[in-house]
């Protein structure tokens, strides 16, 4: 019976029964020496975010931008929006155009998916700053303009490294 059924995953005996004094001293020495090793050769995986940013993948669901020339004013984006962030308004007589409210938007991308003429698209920017909440409600002019990338940003590519874990390889921005 003992061979067929696996035992409990944790040891039921206390740590004193499992380990003698010498084992404990060895474990302490092991932990401290590993700490010393890391102190001598640090393996940092911190991304210093605002100064260096990862290159975002294709199809990243960032901010949404409207291509005003393509839009046919069908209102599908406003209908599908689960957070009611999109709203149609009359830009001119018989010319409906969507605008977006980033207080509500949940970046689900349904509006981009449903758009029949691909007038809406994502840009790989997700961290704009607004001075007040009224600025988060975009009008047609701001909604058609792509948000600008901040200057002095190092672009890095995230690479999974077998030894180190994560590595950031710098990419030339342009």
């Amino acid at each position: 019976m003992a061979e067929t059924t696996p035992g409990p995953r944790y040891s039921e005996r206390s740590i004193e029964e499992r380990m003698g004094l010498l084992d404990k001293a060895k474990m302490h020495a092991k932990a401290l020496s590993l700490g010393m090793l890391r102190l001598a050769r640090p393996q940092r995986i911190t991304l210093r975010y605002p100064m260096e940013r990862p290159v975002l993948s294709e199809g990243y669901r960032g901010m949404i931008v409207l291509n005003n020339d393509k839009c046919i004013g069908c209102s599908l984006c406003a209908r599908v929006c689960p957070a009611a962030a999109m709203k149609m308004f009359n830009a001119a007589p018989k010319k409906l155009r969507p605008v977006i409210n980033y207080e509500r938007c949940i970046f689900c991308g349904y509006c981009v998916d449903i758009c029949p003429v691909e007038a809406l698209y994502h840009v790989p920017v997700h961290d704009l700053v607004f001075e007040n909440r009224d600025d988060m409600v975009f009008d047609l002019e701001t909604f058609t303009k792509e948000p600008e990338e901040p200057e002095h940003v190092r672009k890095v590519k995230v690479v999974i490294d077998e030894e180190k874990g994560l590595r950031y390889v710098p990419v030339d921005s342009e």
Binding site: G35, R38, L39, R44, T46, G165
Partner: protein, 344 residues
């Protein structure tokens, strides 16, 4: 110019210089700032992070601690309505001052000490035992459950580590046959450093000091993730800054004692004779003692990066079940060494 000369005279007046500048208040403040910064940097380095960096990245975030100090100094000190005001206010201040008090008898060179006495080891050991009592007082006066739990834990720990530290100090003074730091250092210079004469005592003292000054893995009395700041939960502003500095100041004092008892005091640099009195009697030996103490302190703060926190019963079990016995063994080892010295 007469005023400037008088001021310089006043600053260099030995008692004032000793209490305020070199091993005293200002040096301990700089030491604490350096030590807290290096603690955060070491923990960051080991744990795959950077540590403080945003303020002046080229200086590796060193001004961060100055910024913290300024913030503490300018913050409002809130005294809650439910506390017992007098002990609440007195406790951290008195604890910080008394934590520095053993420095009056710890020599930094054969001539650089304000109080010369036969029983300086005894006085230093006695004075180091007082600040934890004031910590308990602070927790009691705070009228807060976290503070009470913190002081209860501290009072459990005091009974463990104080006895170990006092026994180890007793074993070393037994080994040197004196209760005077000066003579203890002389014996080490003539014979061997104490850490080689009695390594068990050195290790036991090291661990007991980590237990006493709430370094990891014995950071039980001010466990941040369990009981906000232990006994000092209710403090704010400069009082909190002082309260946070108490354990570092105590660690500094304990490490000075460690250097004097185990690491040969002013041994390597103190022997150099250049002819300049101030250089010979203060700067070189003082620097050698201080650098050794800082290195030992860095070793103590390094453990924060490696260990988790023991539960209180584990720490007490380790203290009474192992390190207390090791302290008794160190007395036996001292007796053996003394016997061997008599024989040869």
């Amino acid at each position: 110019m007469a005023i400037v000369e008088r001021l310089v005279d006043l600053i260099l007046w030995p008692p004032l210089f000793y209490y305020i500048i070199f091993p005293g208040l200002i040096f301990v403040m700089i030491f604490e700032i350096f030590l807290i910064w290096s603690e955060r940097k070491i923990a960051g380095r080991v744990q795959m992070r950077y540590g403080p960096l945003e303020i002046a990245p080229r200086l590796a975030g060193a001004p961060q601690l100055l910024a913290d100090l300024i913030r503490y100094a300018l913050q409002e000190v809130i005294i809650p309505r439910t506390v017992d005001k007098l002990p609440f206010v007195i406790a951290p201040i008195a604890a910080f001052v008394i934590a520095l008090m053993p420095l009056i008898v710890t020599p930094f060179s054969p001539t650089f000490l304000p109080v010369t006495t036969e029983g300086s080891i005894l006085i230093a050991a006695a004075l180091t035992t007082i600040p934890p009592l004031l910590l308990i007082l602070a927790g009691w006066a705070s009228n807060n459950k976290f503070s009470l739990v913190g002081s209860a834990r501290e009072s459990f720990l005091i009974a463990t580590y104080e006895i170990i530290i006092l026994l180890v100090i007793a074993s070393m003074s037994f080994l040197y046959g004196t209760l005077d730091f000066l003579k203890a250092v002389e014996v080490q210079q003539a014979l061997l450093w104490g850490i080689l004469l009695n390594p068990i005592a050195a290790i036991t003292y090291f661990v007991a000091v980590m237990m006493g000054t709430s370094r990891f893995p014995f950071e039980i009395a001010e466990a941040e993730s369990e009981i906000v700041m232990g006994a000092f939960t209710e403090y704010s502003g400069i009082m909190f800054g002082l309260a946070m500095g108490i354990s570092y100041a105590r660690m500094f004092v304990y490490n000075i004692i460690f250097v004097l008892l185990f690491l040969g005091g002013w041994s390597p640099l103190g022997g150099i004779v250049t002819g300049n009195y101030i250089l010979d009697s203060i700067i070189l030996p003082g620097a050698s003692v201080a650098i050794k103490a800082v290195l030992i302190s860095l070793l103590m703060v390094f453990t924060r990066a490696v260990y988790g926190r023991y539960r209180i019963d584990h720490a007490l079990k380790g203290g009474w079940g192992f390190w207390f016995i090791m302290a008794l063994v160190s007395i036996g080892l001292s007796a053996a060494v003394v016997y061997l010295m008599e024989v040869f």
